[in-house]
């Protein structure tokens, strides 16, 4: 079939328009950047340094000059002959941050800064705790609980990674209804899931209040932070517990447990007892290095209700230490002090 000349011209005009659109589409589909995946020690160092430089949140709070760290450690990385020596140098570098949330994970080792509890007395003895719990305790939602003598309830919670269920908490607080008060022992609980903090803490308040603030990095600059966002604690709509509560703490209370203590100490019916918590007030995130190692670090600072950083830990209302002599006597003075306090009510 013969195509008329006018139609041919019109078609030619429209085909030029179409060609322009196609060039536009192809031009976008043709470009993207290269990524440096070299496993050269210098590149691994630069990648780790840059990840922390751009996303770590406590440089100013801890007074760390990260550029100076770069200059010092770039020189040392040049001398690394194998991955073990590189790991050692990088491990030393990240420990400058003195942050328990900063870790380097390899297949054969975990580089960590644990001085926040290693340099202090433990104030906790598991076998002593077992002697108070006995064998006839109950377990619900990761919490072990029983009524110890004198009508005092005792709960121990070893990890906020253990899920807390509403049904389990309903039962526990109903079980403790007639007690004078309860002791919640979170010593040696090094954190876990923040949603479990809220689930447990909301059982102890009668009103909604601001229990802290959170910020996050909005850019790679050391001071590129969002406005503080308030964190609220709202009362649970079901079963709540409003009698006296004593929270037992030690230096191993870290991360989510530190947040739990931060929130609970604001409640009028709660006393924090034991040693200062370990801290860990930065919400951690993870990333990877070109040689397969993983890095974790704090990226979102959290604050208490007075807008003070919680990274350095929370002071207890009542400082009580568990000495070696107490352990030899088989008396957990921290539990005993809390017990005596509740007996006086």
């Amino acid at each position: 079939m013969r195509v008329p000349y006018d139609l041919k011209r019109k078609n030619y005009y429209h085909m030029k328009q179409t060609a322009f659109l196609l060039i536009l589409i192809f031009s976008f589909s043709a470009c993207h950047e290269d990524v440096n995946e070299s496993t050269d020690p210098q590149n691994i160092f630069e990648t780790l340094w840059s990840i922390l430089d751009e996303k770590y949140c406590f440089f100013d709070a801890k007074g760390v000059d990260w550029d100076q760290v770069h200059d010092e450690y770039a020189f040392r990385v040049d001398t690394c002959k194998n991955s073990d020596s590189l790991l050692k140098v990088l491990g030393e570098m990240i420990c400058i941050l003195q942050d328990g949330h900063v870790n380097l994970y390899t297949a054969h080792d975990l580089i960590r800064y644990w001085k926040w509890f290693e340099d202090y007395d433990p104030n906790f003895d598991e076998s002593l705790q077992r002697s108070y719990l006995g064998t006839n305790y109950q377990i619900a939602s990761g919490l072990k609980y029983k009524i110890i003598g004198g009508n005092v309830g005792y709960i121990t919670y070893n990890s906020f990674s253990s899920a807390v269920s509403d049904a389990g908490l309903d039962y526990i607080f109903k079980y403790f209804d007639n007690c004078r008060g309860i002791i919640i022992d979170v010593r040696d609980n090094s954190g876990g899931d923040l949603s479990n903090v809220n689930k447990l803490a909301c059982r102890f308040t009668e009103k909604k209040f601001i229990c802290g603030y959170i910020r996050h990095k909005t850019g790679p600059g050391h001071n590129d932070f969002s406005e503080p966002y308030p964190i609220y604690l709202e009362p649970y709509e079901g079963k709540r517990y409003t009698k006296k509560v004593v929270i037992l703490t030690n230096r191993m209370c870290y991360s989510a447990t530190n947040t739990f203590v931060t929130v609970m100490r604001q409640l009028p019916n709660v006393i924090i007892m034991g040693d200062r918590t370990g801290g860990g007030g930065g919400f951690p995130i993870s990333s990877m290095l070109p040689n397969g190692w993983s890095v974790r670090f704090s990226s979102c600072p959290t604050y208490d209700e007075k807008y003070k950083l919680t990274e350095e830990g929370i002071e207890p209302d009542s400082t009580v230490y568990l000495t070696k002599r107490d352990i030899q006597r088989e008396v957990d003075v921290i539990i005993e002090t809390a017990y005596s306090l509740l007996q006086k009510i």
Binding site: H14, Q17, L21, K55, K217, S226, P290
Partner: protein, 289 residues
Amino acid sequence: MIRKYNQFVFLENPYIKSSHIILFVFWIYLLQPINAQTRDQKSVYWQLGVGNTYLYDNYLSPLPHTGISVLFSNGNMKPLKWGLPDSAKISFDDVKWFSRCNYSINPVYGQSSTGSTLLYGNIDLRKSILRQIVSDPKYHISTGAFAALSGGGRYSIHNGNNPASLDAMFDLGITVFSDYKFTFWKKSMIVSYQGSMAMVGLAFSPEYAESYYEIFYLSNHKNIIKFTNPINKQHWRQQLSLNIPISGRKSSFRVSYWNEGRISLFNNIRTRVLSNHFSVGYISYFSIL
């Protein structure tokens, strides 16, 4: 060493050799085609493809991941009666407007050079309206606009504290569709091409190092919806298809090559999803005018 990434990463797959592709095309040819789609018909198609996808998301990792991906696509194309009299007898050549609907599902299993795994999944729903601007007995070209909704996410098995990132976007863009009818060895076939490019829209993105805990658990929704344009987000899709009518049926066999890319830069978070798929499919035709 800087590794350069070819966007046609599928061709780097050592398990697929050119001889396989030639044999596959020859096998399709043996399906004895007898007719081809005409402009008045609504077509419904199903396609299943495999290919390779390049993933990059600096929120989760500074390393790119590549891996095998699957593409399932279903959609239709139908002529519209816009601007035509409401009459039963309309010439096929009068039809100027067409609509295309499509949804696709694209799961990916990606691995980095270190062996770390990144899983990705995406669902895309889109509708295009096209106007025929070039008409010839042998070929047609149509241009138009499309609206698309898509959502998906990446999950890093190695990240303990922020293992996932989400995609959610609404796009408005331009699209081009063309087809060319030809006879090969006395058999009528149609080769068609559709290219689409997002121009404006809305997209979800956390702030630079904002945690999903803060967004979803603490409900801090500030600055998480971004207005998109070709500078901060490029999303294109190209599909080249060969339709081979099946003997004795109102249907065709289809082989396609898909190229799709999603590149975005919001709040210093850079993401790239670049995929190439070869797919096979089946098309049914229904007369509707």
